[in-house]
């Protein structure tokens, strides 16, 4: 797949170059790439670190290409991280194994060891600013979250390997917060946008194939965040690290919607059939458990169709109190959910046929 940008990248959309270099890990994913591009537009120099080619250069006008550099490799490899850390002023650590299935050891390596390696190397290099991109699931024990604040990460209660490993890593990050090493933690919740292969396209494809059931009618209210808003929040967090350090902040659009409405919104925007079948959440949860186990032993090519984690995500409410986040970040989401649907529509029109 070729990389693309949410925004036009003409020469005049880039600010004058600044003398500050930010390392962005995980720039091959949607959030990492967009954060890197936003930083570049704002005039920062950017280094990216991830296994695969982030393909940023191909997107940039020639005059800006020199501002970006890339190191390829694993965040848990000390030597790679060390080389990526040369002349870096701040870090936005996004790289993670993001998935709803897989063996625990893989998560430990990517998410916990990786984060520790980045933090330790950063300290050796005298880096002063560190943003860790986490997930609200680190504090989500499976029950409904209704108007939830920024509760502390809890590896003991977090559900699934992804959330548990991210919880450990977040604790690690926050414990490192110090006067000479400011650590900010942002937890964007369910990022979506055009070209998002993680959530949106998977849901659209399943819905198109009639394989996306609603769980218990999909009546749980959930918070999500449109990609541009997540990017703005992460960069705002980096710039306001003195205000936000030392505590986690959940980042959402602040527009809770029911699961069914969101899925329908995505499907309508993409021009595919909306999910209409509903199955009991308990059944999905049980099935998810079995499928997760099977995938661990013999991983399939795609993510498993249903996991226990996903079953919970799609059947319980989880929406958040955004007042503190907005105040500390001095940020408000610029793109509403409805505007987000419109951008999906523009992007996907003609891509999927019924």
């Amino acid at each position: 797949m070729t990389a693309f940008s949410q925004h036009p990248l003409s020469e005049n959309s880039f600010a004058k170059e600044r003398n500050e270099r930010v390392l962005v890990t995980g720039a091959s994913g949607m959030l990492g790439r967009e954060v890197a591009l936003k930083l570049l537009r704002d005039g920062y120099q950017v280094r990216v670190l991830q296994r695969s080619d982030a393909q940023l250069e191909s997107l940039l006008p020639a005059s800006v290409v020199s501002r970006v550099s890339q190191v390829r490799g694993s965040v848990s490899d000390a030597a790679t991280v060390d080389s990526a850390m040369q002349d870096v002023d701040g870090i936005i650590h996004i790289a993670a194994k993001v998935s709803v299935s897989g063996a625990w050891d893989d998560y430990v390596e990517a998410n916990i060891v990786g984060t520790r390696t980045v933090i330790e190397t950063a300290k050796q290099h005298g880096v002063k600013k560190f943003i860790y991109v986490s997930s609200p699931s680190v504090a989500h024990a499976g029950s409904s979250l209704v108007g939830e604040g920024n509760t502390a990460a809890s590896p003991e209660h977090a559900r699934g390997n992804y959330a548990r490993s991210k919880a450990y890593a977040e604790q690690l990050a926050l414990e490192s917060d110090a006067a000479d090493f400011r650590v900010g933690v942002l937890r964007p919740h369910l990022i979506w946008g055009p070209g998002d292969t993680q959530l949106v396209e998977r849901l659209i494809e399943r819905s198109a194939a009639g394989r996306l059931p609603l769980l218990d009618g999909g009546t749980g209210l959930i918070d999500t965040v449109y990609i541009d808003n997540a990017v703005d929040a992460v960069v705002a967090g980096y710039e306001r690290i003195e205000h936000i350090h030392g505590q986690p902040l959940v980042v959402t659009n602040g527009q809770p919607r029911t699961v069914a409405e969101l899925l329908t919104g995505f499907a309508e925007a993409a021009g595919v059939q909306a999910p209409s079948k509903s199955i009991p959440a308990k059944l999905a949860y049980a099935a998810g458990k079995v499928i997760e186990k099977a995938w661990e032993i013999k991983p399939g090519e795609d993510e498993p169709p249903m996991t226990a984690f996903l079953a919970e995500q799609l059947s319980t409410a989880h929406w958040f109190d955004q007042r503190k986040t907005r105040e500390l970040l001095n940020w408000t989401p610029g793109v509403s959910i409805e505007e987000g649907y419109e951008r999906l529509r523009q992007f996907y029109t003609g891509r999927y046929t019924r």
């Binding site: 409904s144 209704v146 108007g147 769980l215 218990d216 009618g217 999909g218 009546t219 749980g220 209210l221 602040g254 527009q255 809770p256 919607r257 029911t258 699961v259 069914a260 409405e261 329908t264 919104g265 309508e268 909306a274 959440a281 059947s315 319980t316 409410a317 929406w319 109190d321 955004q322 007042r323 409805e338």
Partner: protein, 889 residues
């Protein structure tokens, strides 16, 4: 064997500093001379430290609790701005006080308290002493009070009783405990009595609190007193403690100190009759009934805050809130020149007038079945008034009238007003359960009813001696337990009776109880007269006006106003059943020019208007005034009503059972107000325009704070949203035996807090935005629902909407719950409709709905079928939107 541990640090809600023991020389008759007993008690004196306190509250628990019962009082008294010392004893053989092996009687226990109070130094205090007691502690505590008359300045009681006349009259729960085979097993051999008592707590006790109550009663030996206590119940003259009980019960009639009763009315033991008995013995008492609380009212409700409030008012403040309210109210209404004229004045000034006073329509709705001239009506009122007094009805007695609106009810009502009997009007709209609850609260002495009402009274156990409103054969009367029939009262010549005190109670009306139990609202004769004067002056109703009385209670004002009134044929329990033809026939019968009808009735009138014949249509053309109160009327409905009543000015006054009415507005003004809302007159919009204050009324708005509470300084400033407050001569006197509720409503002396929220606009019009309890404290700020509801209803396909919030206070998010025009599956609204509603509500009100849910029908109150039960909806929405299965009751 269970071990007894004594560790105050483990008692939830107790400061270990409070727990004390004291050696007390006993002079109880049961004890040998020279015996000393160890008492355990709670006392906040050390916790108060150097702070001065107002006086001492001396608390006595009942059986089988202990001083732990009073922990909330100790805590509140310690923290209060004007603190009190609270001493709460464990009676001997109870709690953690000494186990003596004796069997103590009532007299012993009263003496015990005296021994203790002397030892603890209470007998020599120069500060006020107020007793507080529960259960059997009441009798003991009052016994002590009578022996320390010089010390006692006040009495507070929670569920208790001071007098039992006979074993058969004991509550069944206690009778069972007293049965010889059951008694020891239930009370000491097992913890059954203890557990049953603790189990009475509504919703159950937390396990650690429950464990603490049980802590001192772990062994059979330690429970002996529970058995003995029950054994000492003076249920009849043959029991040893009976004379002592009678002495105390009689003695407290002379105990003329301030008293405060807080009562859980679900108590199966100390039922309401004990409360009524106590109120008769201590008529000065302030009473608050907790309709959702049972025997252990201190666990079911916060009794400590009201207790401290009452103490402050009576022993710290110069005047009570009630006194301040009464004074300020008089001052506020000084400018009004209307002189008091009794409700019955107009009727009796026309007692020789042979023109028509009241007519009842019947049959198919087109013929009159009763016609009374003013002279007839005056004679009928006299006959009934005299008959009632002959039956023993006295001034101040409460009479529940269960008679459908019409000439009979009118005559009964004015007869009661004449003799000063207090009318209890609990309308059938409350439903059987609500009615029973309301009537048990009001405790009428008599019930005058039609046959079905008397049958219900008998089967549902409604209080009051039964009197039949209709002619019934003697066996039928006997079967219903009725003492007389109104129709049997003999005619009498002019019946003279001393004029009733204008400030005596005249009536108890009931709120619709759409959320929670209906509240009794007491009006005095002066306030009833004020209501009449307000209606008369606001609508320029003159004597001789013909009035179609389709809506109580205004309808009953006809004779007081001097208007000829006609009651149309309708099923009074269902306002929806008034047909256009019935309305028009009624109007035609008296050439009426005014109509009082409920909004629900108007809906049906519109729906059936095609059945009107020419004559009926022309009768309706004569109507120049329509009054419809009870709920806001949507504009489209008003348009349709206007087509049927082309020459009438349509008034939709706003008010409540506590103030009928508060404001007035007519159709034309509503239209103007809506235009103003669009042309941005400051404050216009965001709610329902209810117009300007009626004659005699003043209105203020107490602004909401960021928590959605109405704490601001009351104002009339345009655009400031807050709780609506009203002051007028016709506002209620008080809530009936709901002291705590009353205190909240008169927190601004002279004013009644309505519980409604709204704001003024720059033209001085009031806009209602909903109920205070419906305020949504969202992350976007404090929101009120009405504007968003109106906007939702503007979207095509929506029939009726309620906007509620889900989620915790201050983070909550608003959602709309709608009824749709076309049948739609209940649950989430279709995607497209949701988007349209959200967009429209956002652009008109700035409120972003998180979700739109569909219901088949909103839960509403029975009386008006119009007040949506938003708290119930909110609960349902909250559950649904957390992904849970929810059922709408």
């Amino acid at each position: 064997m269970a071990t007894v541990t004594f560790d105050p640090a483990t008692w939830p809600g107790v400061d270990p500093l409070w727990s004390k023991t004291l050696e007390v020389a006993s002079t109880a008759p049961v004890e040998k001379a020279g015996t000393t007993r160890t008492w355990h008690y709670l006392d906040n004196i050390d916790a108060l430290g150097s702070r001065d306190y107002v006086g001492t509250v001396f608390c006595v628990h009942g059986n089988p609790t202990w001083s732990y019962l009073w922990r909330s009082v100790l805590s509140a008294a310690t923290q209060a701005e004007h603190p009190w010392r609270v001493i709460a004893v464990d009676q001997i053989d109870m709690g953690f006080s000494e186990r003596t092996g004796t069997v103590r009687s009532l007299a012993d226990r009263v003496r015990d308290l005296s021994d203790f109070s002397a030892a603890v130094g209470l007998n020599s205090t120069d500060k006020p002493v107020v007793t507080m007691a529960h259960d059997w502690g009441g009798l003991i505590s009052l016994g002590w009070a009578l022996e320390h008359r010089e010390l006692v300045n006040g009495v507070m009681l929670t569920n208790t009783g001071v007098f039992h006349d006979h074993r058969e009259n004991l509550p069944s729960a206690l009778r069972l405990a007293l049965a010889p085979k059951v008694h020891p097993v239930a009370t000491s051999k097992t913890t059954a009595f203890l557990d049953v008592t603790l189990g009475l707590v509504q919703g159950g006790l937390d396990s650690d609190i429950r464990a603490t109550y049980r802590a001192p009663y772990k062994t059979e030996e330690r429970r002996a007193a529970i058995q003995n206590f029950v054994g000492d119940i003076p249920f009849g003259p043959e029991t040893a403690s009976h004379p002592h009980m009678v002495r105390i019960a009689e003695g407290i009639k002379e105990l003329n100190v301030p008293a405060f009763f807080q009562w859980g009315t679900k108590d199966p033991v100390f039922q309401r009759k004990y409360m009524m008995d106590l109120m008769r013995r201590m008529p000065q008492a302030q009473v608050h009934r907790y309709e959702n609380a049972s025997h252990l009212v201190a666990e079911d409700e916060d009794i400590a805050t009201p207790a401290l409030n009452w103490l402050t008012q009576n022993f710290v403040n110069e005047k009570t809130a009630r006194q301040l309210h009464t004074e300020e109210r008089a001052r506020l209404h000084q400018g009004l020149t209307t002189e008091y004229s009794p409700m019955i004045a107009e009727l009796f000034s026309r007692s020789n007038d042979s023109s028509l006073a009241v007519i009842d329509m019947g049959g198919d709705g087109s013929s009159a079945v009763a016609r009374l001239s003013w002279a007839d009506l005056a004679a009928e009122v006299n006959r009934i008034a005299y008959g009632l007094t002959q039956l023993g009805v006295k001034r101040g007695d409460r009479i529940n009238l269960m008679v459908p609106p019409g000439s009979k009810l009118t005559a009964l009502l004015y007869a009661c007003l004449k003799i000063g009997a207090v009318i209890v009007v609990a309308d059938t709209g409350l439903g059987a359960k609500g009615l029973t609850r309301a009537l048990k609260g009001a405790q009428p002495d008599y019930i005058v009813g039609i046959k079905t009402a008397l049958v219900a009274a008998k089967t549902l156990g409604w209080p009051g001696k039964r009197i039949s409103a209709d002619k019934l054969p003697a066996p039928a009367l006997k079967a219903l337990g009725a003492i007389a029939s109104v129709t049997d009262f003999a005619p009498t010549a002019m019946f003279e009776i001393e004029q009733v005190d204008p400030d005596a109670d005249a009536a108890v009306l009931y709120t619709s109880g759409s959320t929670g139990p209906a509240k009794g609202v007491v009006y005095t004769h002066r306030q009833m007269a004020g209501m009449r004067d307000t209606i008369k002056n606001t609508y320029s109703l003159t004597a001789g006006t013909g009035l179609v009385a389709g809506f109580a209670p205004f309808a009953l004002l006809g004779p007081a106003l001097g208007c000829t009134s006609v009651t149309p044929k309708m099923d009074v329990t269902k306002p929806k059943t008034l047909s256009a033809s019935a309305l028009a026939s009624a109007a035609h019968a008296i050439q009426a020019t005014a109509i009082f009808a409920s909004p629900a009735a108007l809906v049906n009138v519109v729906a059936t208007s095609s059945n009107l014949n020419k004559e009926q249509r022309s009768a309706l053309k004569n109507i120049d005034l329509l009054l419809s109160a009870g709920a806001p009327i949507p504009m489209p409905l008003l348009e349709k009503v206007s087509a049927i009543l082309p020459n009438a000015s349509l008034h939709t006054p706003y008010g409540m059972t506590e103030a009928l009415p508060v404001t007035d507005v007519d159709f034309q003004s509503i239209r103007e107000a809506q235009q103003d809302a669009e042309t941005s007159v400051p404050g216009a919009g965001n709610g329902v325009c209810v117009g300007t204050p009626v004659y005699g009324a003043q209105i203020l708005v107490a602004p909401l704070d960021s928590r959605g509470e109405a704490t601001g300084t009351p104002t009339t400033e345009a655009g400031i949203t807050g709780e609506i407050m009203v002051s007028a001569p016709h506002v209620k006197d008080r809530y009936d035996t709901l002291w705590v509720t009353e205190e909240v409503s008169i927190q601004n002396p002279g004013w009644h807090r309505t519980g409604d929220i709204g704001h003024f606009d720059a033209s001085g019009r009031l806009w209602v935005e909903g109920r205070l309890t419906h305020v949504m404290v969202t992350s976007a700020g404090v929101l009120t629902p009405v504007a968003a509801e109106l906007a939702t209803e503007e979207v095509e396909g929506v029939k009726r909407a309620a906007v509620v919030s889900v989620g915790p206070v201050s983070v909550a998010t608003p959602v709309a719950v709608i009824e749709t025009v076309e049948k739609t599956k209940a649950g989430q609204a279709p995607f497209g409709l949701t988007q349209r509603i959200r967009q429209h509500v956002l652009s008109t009100t700035g409120i972003e709905l998180s979700a739109v849910l569909v219901v088949d029908e909103h839960p509403t109150d029975v009386r008006h079928n119009s007040k949506i039960d938003r708290p119930a909806l909110a609960q349902w929405a909250e559950k649904t939107l957390t992904g849970k299965k929810a059922k709408l009751k």
